[in-house]
């Protein structure tokens, strides 16, 4: 068999070089894989031994003990890790692919991935194992089999791979599907012919419902078919919305893809308004205020309206600027740089500056990008000038780029600080950096005319420094500056000329000589004298200086032949015998030009023109100037050359693509969705995914925004918190139908609500379908009913009951639940002092010291609160007493029953809601006898009324019952018998949500403390927009009246006297679960923010609704 032969030959060739691995390998598990870097020469001596050791490993691999096998595999891995060849062990290793031991299996996989390519025939032996593993019930095994199968790079199994991938795409496990997505790029690399087939698979994975899969699918897309942008359309909005939930590495790819997508689909946000903008941005400052931006936006709208999808992209990517991963931040910055309107780019500055605190390598690359961005858009980095100050500890690249950025950002307003900073750098011990600094000063001087003179003077000052590099660089820079504007600085030229004796650095001397030659007419007396001096030292000069001496001589001769004739001749003669051929050549050339007019008359006629041609001034420019031909942040950009796989960002199209292509059809049967194991189990989830297709254009963004954050939470809720939340969920489902009309407003009003439960409600498809019509109608109804309520309630009071409540609650003051807050609050409860370590003393120290004070303030606040109570008692007695009918006199055969909620605790059972029933005999003269309460079978716990023996005609009797609504708004029903006969219809008492509560008196501190334990998913918020006249009407009384109408809660006295926030507290009657209400007026924006905290979140949701309604009626 050929493969056997091959492995044999491999093994012999191998043993030649691979040797030493085992000397250490044999010594045990802790073998050092790399302590010998001894190379082949030394190993020849132990040739035989070495061969034996390979045998040794083979034996171990062949043994039937897992321990030995594992040990052997570890050694093999050690060899691979060191880069030693272990190919000859292939047959022995591959056998173990069937091992049951996970680690052996894994190590064999590692080995296979390394060597399968080299030993394809043998590798085929292992394929069957993988194929079997692909069917394994364990998803981990399926996935890893697919991973290895796709990684072994054996072309002959391409078809098997393709099959495996196709199968895996439909796998139940998202993890396996993700692996399949990763495998696509590998297969494509192996066989590009399969492209079309793979694209179909990618399309399927892009539409996968699991975000885990999408990230990898986009990566595959980028590798295989980046040009097929049409595949993205349908997934675009979802990808945008779910971007924050993708893993950080895929985020980078997705962001890059979206940047490209935006460049092909949307129009240039800057281009259409160019004309307007120029005026606009001309006088704009560095610090842009938000309001200013808003103003601009409104103006821009006249000419350009951003596509809503374009806006969506920008909005969804912005939070990622806060990623800890620098690559993600950079990708967002890139996206903003290329896709965002100019007025919005500034948001990236902060994030990029933050990256400068990361590792040195990251700094280097980020700085380079900033340098390029600053070149185009000075404004955005202007405020961060100080972030680019150089430290002595920075690496040389970092220093260089920082300097570059400082120079770019320098402008007339900040130049003085920049220059002062640059001056300190000149003194840096890093001479190369000092030289770069001088160059930078030169650049500042050339770009900012105000400081040119000062800079020149400063640079001339540097010429007298002792350090040669500084001197040389200054001279060179000064020379360049003078060249730009020679007329003005004659004095400086003279000054420099005087320095020529002192300066020894050849480059500097050469520069000076060049200057003299160039501007000799300004210093016509000095110039020949300099030449005289130079002629003296000519033999000792460096070549570069000699050349300039020759140039100077030639120029002087042209200008002033009489005086310098002899001197020039002398210099030329010296040059004629110079050892450097360049010098000799140059001398010969110039001599021909100047002195031998007969030999080349054509040229020498123009000698003056040739030598004194006006030279273009050099441009002092940035080191990154030409790098931005490549997309920022790419590898090509960093190294300044095109790298394989690099594609330029396309230019914006002139016409935007039709945004309807990104619309998603209503319900598309999706195989993967049905098969996914998670979907069927979680009904809520399924609803949410389909519901996304319902939205009309307007709302989808808002709604998706919610979805994107809540996505993960929902799932984890369902997965892990199942036990706890099941009750709530059930309740909620029951409630759903009843309260549909109440909840449907949420998606529009409470855009920013972040509570999971609410989102579930909001996304249930029935609701969304109904939305447009039901929305308005409910609002109307509610308002009406509320008006009635107000009128009914105002005049009745129930002093008696109210006093009782107050008493009760003042007693319960000190029993408020203890809660460990970190600092500031309720320190008295911390008793774990001894547990704390020394380190935590900061926190405990405060604890102990503040306890005393805390207690005294508590007392004081109790007193205050009690005082407040009196003043409060008036409004709080405006109890809302409305009577409802629960038994009609027709069905009741003359008996009418009305009920109301007196809002006092039910005496016989504290967990019941107290309901007052009024029995009225509507018949004029018939007595009704023996009215009895019959408990219904519905299971609701009701404390019935005492039997009424006789009810005379026209009379009424008031009696009370207690109902344990169990904190739901389900109606409770019971039956009544009159005179021994049971009434046909049972009496049913629906409970209004507000009546499920009873006041719970808290002071502000307790309130805040309890609030702390009810944050997160126990918090729901709502916003109400009101007009200005309305908001002026809001004060404590109006709000309290309305809130108390809605719900049986008590107000929390405000200790701070803040008149924009009102707090109320209560607890549910049956389970005593706390509900905290905070109403905050935002007068400047004419909005009211409502926050409810309670772990009875459904009740809280409903209550929030009611309060919102009630408050909106204040006028």
């Amino acid at each position: 068999m050929s493969s056997a032969e091959r492995s044999l030959s491999m093994s012999s060739s191998m043993s030649m070089q691979g040797a030493s691995g085992f000397s250490s390998g044999a010594s045990g598990g802790g073998a050092n894989p790399a302590d010998e870097n001894a190379e082949p020469a030394s190993t020849l001596s132990i040739f035989a031994l070495d061969y034996k050791k390979h045998e040794d490993i083979k034996h171990m691999l062949d043994s039937n003990k897992d321990n030995l096998k594992l040990e052997a595999m570890r050694r093999v891995i050690g060899m691979i890790a060191k880069g030693k060849d272990a190919a000859d062990l292939f047959p022995a290793v591959v056998k173990n692919v069937v091992s049951k031991n996970m680690e052996i299996k894994k190590l064999v996989y590692v080995y296979l991935m390394r060597y399968a390519e080299e030993q394809q025939d043998l590798a085929l032996l292992s394929i069957a194992t993988f194929q079997r593993a692909l069917k394994d019930p364990n998803q981990l095994i399926r996935a890893s089999a697919l991973r290895v199968l796709s990684s072994i790079r054996v072309p002959s199994i391409v078809t098997i791979m393709m099959l495996a991938i196709r199968e895996a795409v439909h796998d139940m496990s998202p993890y396996v599907r993700k692996t399949a997505a990763n495998a696509i790029a590998k297969l494509y690399a192996l066989d590009p012919e399969l492209k079309e087939e793979l694209i179909a698979v990618i399309a399927k994975l892009l539409a996968d419902k699991t975000i885990l899969v999408n990230g990898s699918a986009v990566q595959a897309f980028e590798q295989v078919c980046p040009e097929r942008i049409d595949l993205i359309h349908k997934n675009y909005r979802r990808l945008c919305n779910l971007l924050v939930d993708i893993d950080e590495w895929s985020q980078v790819t997705v962001l890059n893809m979206l940047t490209r997508y935006a460049r092909t689909q949307f129009v240039d946000p800057n281009k259409t308004v160019e004309g307007d903008k120029n005026n606009f941005y001309g006088d704009e400052n560095n610090s842009k205020e938000k309001s200013e931006n808003d103003g601009e936006d409104s103006l821009e709208k006249r000419t350009y309206v951003m596509d809503s999808d374009h806006r969506l992209l920008l909005r969804c990517t912005k939070p990622l600027l806060q990623s800890r991963n620098s690559a993600v931040v950079m990708a967002v910055a890139q996206l903003y740089h290329y896709v965002a309107p100019r007025s919005e780019i500034h948001v990236i500055a902060n994030a990029l500056i933050r990256l400068l605190r990361h590792h040195r390598e990251i700094q280097t690359i980020v700085l380079k990008c900033i340098a390029s961005m600053a070149e185009k858009n000075k404004d955005i980095f202007g405020p961060f000038l100080k972030a680019f100050y150089v430290r002595s500890s920075d690496s040389s690249h970092v220093k260089r780029y920082k300097l570059e950025i400082l120079t770019t950002l320098a402008c007339a307003t900040n130049i003085s600080t920049v220059l002062r900073e640059l001056q300190t750098y000149v003194l840096s011990p890093d001479k190369e950096f000092a030289a770069q600094t001088i160059h930078a000063i030169g650049r500042c001087a050339s770009t900012i005319p105000e400081v040119t003179e000062a800079c020149l003077n400063g640079l001339v000052g540097y010429m007298s420094k002792k350090d040669e590099t500084i001197v040389a660089e200054s001279v060179v820079v000064v020379k360049k500056l003078l060249q730009i504007n020679p007329v003005q600085y004659g004095d400086i030229i003279k000054h420099i000329v005087r320095k020529v004796d002192k300066i020894t650095v050849p480059a500097a001397r050469a520069s000076i000589l060049w200057l003299i030659g160039e501007y000799s007419e300004r210093i016509s007396k000095l110039a020949p004298d300099v030449l005289r001096k130079m002629a003296k030292t000519f033999p000792d000069e460096e070549a570069i200086v000699k050349h300039q001496i020759l140039n100077l001589a030639a120029k002087l001769y042209v200008m002033n032949a009489k005086q310098t004739h002899l001197l020039v001749q002398y210099v030329f003669n010296l040059a004629k015998y110079d050892t450097n051929y360049d010098t000799r050549d140059k001398a010969r050339l110039l001599r021909a030009l100047l002195f031998q007019a007969d030999k080349c008359p054509a040229l020498s006629k123009h000698a003056k023109k040739i030598l004194l041609a006006s030279k273009p001034a050099p441009l002092l420019e940035s080191i990154v100037r030409n790098h931005d031909q490549y997309t920022l942040g790419t590898l090509s950009y960093v190294i300044g050359q095109a790298v394989p796989g690099y594609t330029d960002l396309p230019d914006y199209p002139l016409e935007p693509s039709d945004s309807s292509i990104r619309n998603v059809e209503v319900i598309r049967p999706s195989l993967s969705q049905d098969e996914s194991p998670r979907k069927p189990s979680s009904g809520g989830k399924k609803k949410s995914t389909t519901s996304e297709k319902f939205y009309s254009d307007e709302e989808e963004n808002d709604e998706n925004e919610g979805t994107s954050t809540e996505g993960p939470d929902d799932e984890e809720e369902e997965d892990e918190d199942g036990d706890e939340d099941e009750d709530d969920e059930n309740e909620e489902e029951e409630e759903n139908e009843d309260d549909e009309d109440e909840d449907d407003e949420k998606p529009t009003k409470n855009i920013h609500q972040t509570n999971e439960y609410e989102q579930l409600d909001a996304r249930s498809p029935t609701i969304i379908e109904n939305q447009p019509e039901s929305h308005e109608s409910t609002e109307g109804e509610d308002t009406e009913s509320d008006d009635e309520v107000t009128s009914a309630s105002e005049d009745t009071t129930d002093d008696d009951a109210d006093e009782k409540t107050i008493e009760k609650h003042t007693l319960s003051f000190n029993k408020s639940p203890s809660n460990i807050a970190i600092s500031g609050f309720s320190m008295a409860t911390i008793t774990e002092k001894s547990i704390a370590e020394d380190d935590l003393e900061a926190f405990l120290g405060i604890t102990t010291t503040s306890t005393g004070a805390q207690q005294s303030t508590t007392k004081a606040s109790v007193r205050d609160d009690l005082q407040n109570l009196e003043s409060l008692s008036t409004p709080s007695t405006l109890t809302y007493i409305r009577q409802y009918e629960c038994l009609n006199r027709m069905t009741g055969q003359g008996l009418q029953i009305q009920y109301r909620f007196p809002r006092t605790p039910f005496q016989r059972a504290t967990n019941m809601v107290h309901i007052e029933l009024t029995f009225t005999n509507t018949t004029p003269n018939n007595d009704i006898r023996s009215i009895k309460f019959i408990k219904s079978k519905s299971g609701v716990n009701i404390q019935g009324f005492n039997d009424i023996d006789q009810l005379p005609g026209g009379a009424s009797i008031i009696t009370s019952i207690g109902i344990d609504f169990n904190d739901t708004t389900q109606s409770a029903s019971f039956d009544i018998s009159i005179d021994g006969r049971q009434l046909a219809t049972s009496v049913s008492i629906p409970c209004h949500v507000g009546e499920l509560f009873q006041p719970k008196f808290l002071n502000e501190k307790d309130f805040n403390q309890n609030l702390g334990s009810l944050r997160g998913m126990h918090e729901i918020t709502g916003t109400l927009n009101v007009n200005e006249t309305q908001i002026s009407k809001f004060n404590f009384t109006t709000i309290q009246t309305k809130v108390v109408q809605c719900a049986n809660v008590s107000s929390v006295p405000s200790s701070s006297g803040d008149s924009t926030i009102y707090r109320f507290s209560g607890q549910t009657v049956s389970s005593k679960a706390l509900v905290l209400i905070a109403i905050q007026l935002n007068i400047s924006q004419s909005t009211i923010n409502l926050t409810l905290n309670s772990d009875r979140i459904i009740l809280a949701t409903m209550l929030l609704k009611e309060i919102q309604q009630a408050i909106s009626t204040i006028s």
């Binding site: 790399a34 590495w249 390598e361 100080k386 840096s428 420094k465 920013h752 970190i822």
Partner: protein, 437 residues
């Protein structure tokens, strides 16, 4: 994407290599060595090096070079960030990432690298997941291996968190003591010029957490003054939207140690909020003709809010012409390395009590300059380090931490530290160069 990885020690030996695609010969590293040899300082090696067919991206950390080989266009930051992440994982697994620790654990290293990258694409990078896949080598594991003979690093099940949307937390965590510790660390980053004027002052803050909570807690952390934080980056577990709308950190934490948030308070904010530097140094350094000089330093606390400055160290790298220093400190220890020309004055604690002001630690003495050499043109820069416990200099305070989703009551603690990263607090003593008029 990432083709191969070579790990190179400080001496320039390639002691480990890993290939995710077709093998690339070790000789590719020669390009790297060539670039390295051109640099005086090991930190100056350009992070990206182009060779004829490959591109090398390298990082230098812990005296090791990680060199990744690329063949195609990949964002360099992506690779750099990933290499650092690998290093982080190694540090987490082995306690330190050095040549010895990597060599000692080469099998684990290889297994990790294999899990972290799938043919060059990052796969699992969260330590929590990796730990479920590959056990962390520690003493307990070694003991159980010895006793049970069960010699494997691998877990047998797929880490459940890999599938969920909270990939950073594994399932079924149980602790008897439920504790959550938050270390709020702030590093001052400042440059003070010779007149004592703060040229630049920035604060870099972190909250490092050590969370040992059972089950699946959902934490909310709120600050007393969140408006200070406008430039932040988060661990992926933090809900970004919640932060944007309410300025609270809401998150399901990873298990164990992690960095929750890092923030940066820029120089504008530092100055407008008048964040005061808690230390001052008076200096008087003179180099005189005739090979001698005076050197005087006095250090004192400034607005430390009653806290003690601890571990105060002043480092000063002297000009080359300084031969030796004869300095006597009133407190602490002072050493001068005549080869590297570095003066280190380890002061220790400085009490903030007012009566101590009379005897502030000071350092005085003479400097010996080598004769014949010109006087140094620039005065040395002082690098100051100190630690201030129990306080965050920016004034950030955690208001409260709440936990939902679990029934038990955890112990929660916050610790504040203000410190200085080496070389980030500089006091210039040099003379400013002035432009002659």
């Amino acid at each position: 994407m990432i083709h191969s990885l070579f790990i190179i020690n400080g001496a320039g030996d390639v002691f480990m290599e890993k290939h995710w695609k077709t093998v690339v010969g070790k000789s590719i590293c020669d390009y790297f060595f060539e670039a390295q040899s051109k640099c005086a300082n090991s930190e100056d090696v350009p992070p990206v090096i182009a060779t004829p067919h490959h591109y090398l991206v390298n990082i230098f950390r812990n005296n090791l070079y990680f060199v990744a080989v690329l063949t195609n266009e990949v964002a360099p930051l992506f690779v750099i960030e990933f290499l650092h992440r690998i290093m982080d994982v190694f540090e987490y697994y082995f306690g330190e990432c050095t040549e010895t620790s990597l060599k000692d654990n080469y099998v684990v290293v290889y297994e990790l690298l294999d899990e972290m990258l799938d043919s060059g694409l990052p796969l699992a990078t969260e330590t929590n997941i990796l730990e479920e896949l590959i056990k962390r080598p520690n003493i307990i594991l070694k003991m159980t291996k010895l006793i049970t003979g069960d010699d494997t690093n691998f877990g047998n099940t797929l880490p459940s968190s890999q599938l969920s949307n909270i990939p950073w937390r594994r399932m079924g965590i149980r602790y008897t003591n439920n504790e959550a510790y938050f270390d709020l660390i702030e590093e001052i980053d400042a440059i003070i010029d010779r007149n004592g004027v703060t040229v630049m002052c920035e604060i870099q803050g972190y909250i490092d957490c050590c969370i040992k909570l059972s089950g699946n807690p959902d934490l909310t952390l709120s600050f007393v003054n969140p408006r200070l934080l406008d430039d932040v980056s988060f661990h992926p577990c933090v809900r970004l939207k919640k932060w944007e709308s309410e300025r609270v950190l809401s998150f399901i934490p990873p298990d164990g140690n992690f960095r929750l948030i890092s923030y940066h308070i820029g120089s504008q904010k530092c100055q407008s909020d008048a964040i005061s530097i808690p230390i001052y140094v008076k200096h008087n350094i003179q180099f005189r003709e005739g090979s001698s000089g005076r050197f005087e330093l006095t250090v004192g606390p400034k607005q430390t809010m009653g806290k003690t400055l601890e571990a105060v160290v002043i480092e000063c790298s002297m000009p080359k012409s300084v031969l030796n220093c004869t300095l006597t400190p009133t407190q602490g220890k002072c050493t001068f390395d005549p080869v590297k020309k570095i003066l280190v004055w380890d002061i220790g604690k400085i009490e903030s009590k007012t009566q101590a002001a009379a005897r502030l630690p000071s350092l005085r003495g003479n400097i010996v300059l080598s004769t014949g050499q010109p006087l140094p043109e620039s005065n040395p820069v002082l690098n100051v380090r100190f630690t201030l416990n129990q306080i965050a200099i920016s004034g950030i305070r955690v208001q409260r931490v709440d936990m939902h989703g679990e029934k038990y009551k955890p112990f929660k603690g916050v610790k504040y530290i203000t410190t200085v990263k080496n070389g980030r607090f500089q006091i210039q003593t040099k003379q400013n160069f002035s432009i002659p008029d």
